[in-house]
Symmetry: C2
Amino acid sequence: MIHPVPPGTRDVLPDEMRELRALSLRLHAVFERAGYGEVWTPAIEYEDVLRRGDESPPEAGLRLFDDRGQVLVMRSDATIPIARLVADHYGGVPAPLRLCYFAHAYRSVERGSGRAREFLQGGVELIGVPGAKGDAEVIALAIDALGEAGLRRHRVGLGDGMLYRTLLDATEVPEAQRRPLLEALWRRDLVALEARIDALGLARPARELLVTLPTLRGGPDVLARINASVGAALDNLREVYELLAERGAADRLIFDLGLLRELGYYTGTIFEVYDPAVAFALGGGGRYDGLLGRFGEPRPACGAGLDVQRVHLAQLEEERTAGEGAA
Amino acid sequence: MIHPVPPGTRDVLPDEMRELRALSLRLHAVFERAGYGEVWTPAIEYEDVLRRGDESPPEAGLRLFDDRGQVLVMRSDATIPIARLVADHYGGVPAPLRLCYFAHAYRSVERGSGRAREFLQGGVELIGVPGAKGDAEVIALAIDALGEAGLRRHRVGLGDGMLYRTLLDATEVPEAQRRPLLEALWRRDLVALEARIDALGLARPARELLVTLPTLRGGPDVLARINASVGAALDNLREVYELLAERGAADRLIFDLGLLRELGYYTGTIFEVYDPAVAFALGGGGRYDGLLGRFGEPRPACGAGLDVQRVHLAQLEEERTAGEGAA
């Protein structure tokens, strides 16, 4: 007799758990060595507190009710609760703050979507270091952590969360028309994106810019292929690249100017981490200079999170592939 | 501006988290060395699945609703989900199964009660080893783990979850009168217990037995002070004592014949772990031979769970006291 667990959750048995624990310990050691102190936030929080940090629809979180009828929500990411923790415990502390975490996050998912409702995240948050310097530190740490986990071929897709929005400003796309474009871009549905752009009836140079930018992926030369004013984003990306090149990590980077990430709080550099052995992103992150201010503690910040179970799958797949190569 | 977290939950900052992680690793190493493989069960499960293992009222768990309206509940202990996991993944496997876990559990608590709504448990479950042999293995492991955590003065209170119930049978207390007696005993309210027993109007020897048994605490001689047929419980406790004496752990044991534990599934030996430096139990456990059968996989089983944050507080208090002693 099998007793089901909710869709998107699963049991982990000892063989896999031993590997997941070893992997978490390795990632933790990298973060700790870099000066990131681990924190824990409750798995359940008041929804109205967490909503300060996130404008996404409430269906995203799993909600429950307090004994007084207040709405609680299970943490659906680590960054917003840690922003809350920083405001509560480190208010007015000016020095940079380096925090890391290992915790499960919970999302309500559609049945049959195959997405995880419970997933283990390990990551870092760097508070108080603005701009490319902070971005590069966090991205380098994610790259190091995956190297320490035994991955050899991992890459970082690098973009800017405001880039396309700035372009929509520059090309004067009406506010009401923007959301479907950003959603198509987020889904990486470039066919739908192009159709929607064509329907706007823009002048040719504006249309070309909006259609071309999401296709720009590759080395630093792609930055030279934009002939439009998109603010400081490109300068910042160039600087991140230079700083990571100094650390010997330039060959890990792929500029991906159409990159958008799910969470709504990113204000600058964003990135995702991949390994060629598996089809899904292993994690990602970005700069969220506005988030702490929403908790009354305005400070620049940048973070990275890895999905530990996905990194584990990439480890296994890399080992399998290496084994085949040797055979 | 402070943004509150729900009562009974708390943030853990890096200094404390470092110590909690080190403590968890030590406990985990003891369990793993003894052959206990770590498992993970989802923090949320279907309520009707977990209710198979527990008849306690539903308020005990934090409940939430699925996208299809099914009732989910956050895990409120580790043992029932692991019994479910064993039935799902190890059905028909006859060999003893040794599993351990480190996970937070969640309970709804009354505001102002000071009790934790979110607490980190580390523990073991030994499946398929019946009787005193299994009990002694689990209790020895709990004692070793606390020693490894740096405690020096910890003690185990040892009783039997069926002992008082057997006595209520033997003294022919009507079924309907038993619950308030067991509740008073569970609260350790011996005054209320005695008053309720007196109200029953029992014959003097029966009354004496019911009033005296909960006061019997101490070395193995207390077992000789019961002149009544209470089934196999006393023989089993004697055997557990002998087995632990062979392991050199006899001086850790305190018989506590009035011990009752909160969870309803215990069928034999039960125990709680204490340290004189702190006023609360650090953990406990017992034998639950009926639980796996409720999931269709009848097997004897016994487990122990430690509250990691409480063990940590005992560590700190022991260090402080040792420091004072040296000064």
